[in-house]
Symmetry: C2
């Protein structure tokens, strides 16, 4: 062991050990580097000579010379005129800065936030089985640089699956895999901007995240009203938009199904003006009291971009989504995907392809549907019992319910107070005259947790804590 | 079975089977939907009555009524005045369009393209072992919506690993995980633009992909010359740039190591003007005849963005990279990552964290180094033997070698002709006066393939096919 006494305190203790996995000179380098970085060897201080240090450490002088040479090459040390070695002035002292702890969000005990599947029921065993197959069988080139559209196995599997289950008309060549819906929408928005599109219609009420993504691309967002039959397609003509983002199978957040005559009118609007419909099919796999509604895309594949996601059917953490595109958009979107990140991770894509092709995704959904249905029933029952003034709508499908608040009740305030008491919710406040609403997600909480959460929420509502605005 | 005769040919055959997994009405819906989409049921044609069709199919009338109702709700069918059912005019016929086959790139028999590790040697067993552990142990919330910085397990593992192996001064809180280097650089470029940066310096010669990413963010790219001691730091002052992208440990493509005095001068330049160094540390884990050069970031963490990637040490298809950031950039970059795609996939991040923390990545690298070293030796020997006029440089580290071409030889032309004969290469043509070069990657080809590829390349070069420009 050796002490280096610097011209200001403190001392630096150095120690090298034979038999360590690292060679002696590497051990010495690491300790000197750490010492300089930690500010324990100051810029002005000369080091002992290599001979003296070697003696102190009980190593050959060559070990020290090699360590000094390495640190000089890296810029930590300089050789001074006269041959002494010192710490370089440019070795900016970077004392380990303690990062300020982030303010912790209060723990959510009752998670009724929308858009979240039950992650405890993620099919881990099934995923691992597919991972084993993929790692045993995938050709090596799948681990290399990728096609912008995604691995062919996944595009093939999705094509068959979506055409059968969602009524799309999707060739594998029309599919581009994205890192979730958010990225997919951003890619589409970017390509639309490049094609001269300026105004895009969005459902109102609608998903705030989509509004942000479209606006971030430089597009003007035009809100289009929604009623109990979905998007007010009759308002499109006057809105002067080149594209519209819709949730026809299960409107977010109202849960409305786009009525048949409006579907026809919407497709007609798109076809006549060569406009684009972006169909956000985020949770159509979950339905309880009604038949599934097939995708619009199947009716007009050249006018509809269909967007799906693994976030609700499997898990958001997979960050996997897919776009089914009109032929003219496939290349531009695949190029945009390459420019963004050179493609989504291959192994995950291959695993999901295996899950879909083997029917494991279908089996998982069949397992989840009755569970989510019971949770939905528990939520509706609890709302009727504890908060009868709230009017839930759109409960026949999906994994959330919108409940309009009695006029004058402030959604944002209620969400905030509820969060402080451990209840996770999302609020909806309309910029227009409609009342505020609360969006309850029921997939991620157990039936007892839903009942308990709603009964506690009722206490908060009746307490003066959330006052009426009137 | 039942035939529907449309008013123009062809007929549509319908068949429903009991005992099929799908209910009868769903089978009927699917076939009608397909028939309409395939153009086999034209817009003008009325369908038989539900009673007649039920009789033909041998099912109850309720089955047909339910199928018709569903397809009407989806917009495929309309009920005409008088009660007959027909195909909706808005059901735009989308006959399955055969996608034009993409022109196939010629097969690469000898893959000497740079930047590609040997994918046949990807540690599949080790990956699967980590996957098993992650799926058994990871908390459910890791599968939910993510932090913009990446999962904490990976940031912790990278912090320890990079500080030890690359000499960084990286706290886990300073790391943001990205979908590969390309996305990481795009995120940094976007944040720089938002902060008012306009001009960014790039090494010349350098990586064309980086130039593209930086320019795409709206920044002006300023080329800064490189010589055998790396970036000409003395040219920076006159270049009037606010940031510089460098490859100090192993310049791409020349392989030069940034000299110690230039490292000091570069850090000084950054500190004095509050400028930013972006350190692309793409392949520093591979070195053969020299000591590793520690990262610049360790000397000045507040002036350097360190960028690393799993593409060379594991596989490009993982699309995983990492940034070590100055404190003031962590939040903006994490926010930009959320805006881009809500974070990188969680399971992959957890697996890489496990690989790194358990030392499996280190073991993999120790296994690969001698293999790549032998391939490099085979390449240098083959070049000396078959193409002695080429002058390879920068061969002591990395997984590529740059060879300057004799003056007058055209790199782009040589690369093109070689590709047609199954040899994959990359060329470098300088916009300035220096000669062209070929960048040989040697990691992805076996020693015999390297020898054979170079001997065939020599034939191409000596053949008149690639003429001198003089």
């Amino acid at each position: 062991m050796s002490k280096i006494r610097t011209n200001s305190a403190p001392e630096l203790f150095l120690e090298v050990r034979r038999g360590n996995a690292e060679p002696l000179h590497v051990q010495l380098e690491q300790q000197l580097r750490e010492g300089i970085r930690g500010g324990r060897l100051l810029g002005a201080s000369n080091l002992p000579s290599s001979r003296a240090l070697a003696l102190g450490l009980g190593v050959s002088r060559g070990v020290v010379v090699e360590a000094f040479a390495q640190l000089a090459a890296e810029g930590y040390l300089v050789t001074r005129p006269g041959g002494s070695t010192g710490v370089a002035d440019s070795a900016v002292v970077a004392a380990a800065r303690a990062q300020p702890a982030r303010p912790r969000a209060p723990r959510i005990e009752f998670d009724l936030r929308p858009g979240r599947p039950d992650l405890d029921l993620f099919p881990r065993e099934v995923w691992l089985r597919s991972a084993r197959r993929v790692l045993a069988e995938a050709p090596s080139q799948r681990l290399g640089y990728l096609d912008g559209r995604g691995v062919p196995e996944l595009r093939e599997a999705l094509s068959t699956y979506l055409n059968r289950v969602r009524g799309t008309a999707a060739g594998a060549d029309a599919i581009v895999v994205s890192s979730g819906f958010t990225q997919g929408l951003a890619l589409v928005a970017g390509v639309l901007v490049a094609r001269g599109v300026r105004r895009v219609g969005l459902e109102d009420p609608g998903l705030a995240e989509s509004r942000r993504v479209i606006a971030a691309a430089g597009l003007t967002v035009v809100p289009i009203a929604v009623d109990e039959s979905g998007l007010r397609v009759d308002l499109l003509a006057a809105a002067d938009v080149d594209a519209i983002l819709v949730t026809p199978a299960h409107q977010y957040p109202t849960g409305a199904v786009l009525a048949a005559d409006r579907r026809a009118a919407l497709l007609d609007w798109a076809a006549r003006g060569d406009r684009l419909i972006i169909e956000d099919d985020y949770d159509a796999e979950f339905r309880y009291d009604r038949q599934p509604i097939g995708a619009l895309q199947g009716l007009a594949p050249e006018h509809v971009v269909y967007a799906g996601t693994a976030s609700k059917v499997l898990a958001p953490g997979l960050r996997l989504g897919w776009l089914v595109l009109p032929a003219s958009l496939v290349e531009p979107i695949a190029d945009a995907k390459l420019r963004a990140d050179l493609g989504s991770p291959a192994i995950d894509q291959l695993i999901v392809a295996d899950l879909v092709a083997r029917g494991d995704l279908g089996r998982h959904l069949r397992r989840m549907r009755p569970i989510y249905r019971r949770r939905r029933d528990a939520l509706l029952l609890a709302l009727r019992r504890y908060l009868p003034a709230l009017k839930p709508v759109g409960a026949s499908a999906g994994i959330h319910v919108l409940a309009w608040l009695p006029s004058g009740l402030d959604a944002a305030r209620l969400v905030k107070v509820a969060a402080e008491e451990g209840i996770g919710l999302a609020g909806y406040s309309s910029p227009t005259a409609t009342p505020d609403g609360i969006v309850f997600g029921y997939a991620a909480a157990s039936e007892p947790a839903i009942r308990e959460g709603i009964s506690r929420l009722a206490v908060i509502v009746t307490r003066t804590g959330v006052s009426r605005r009137t």
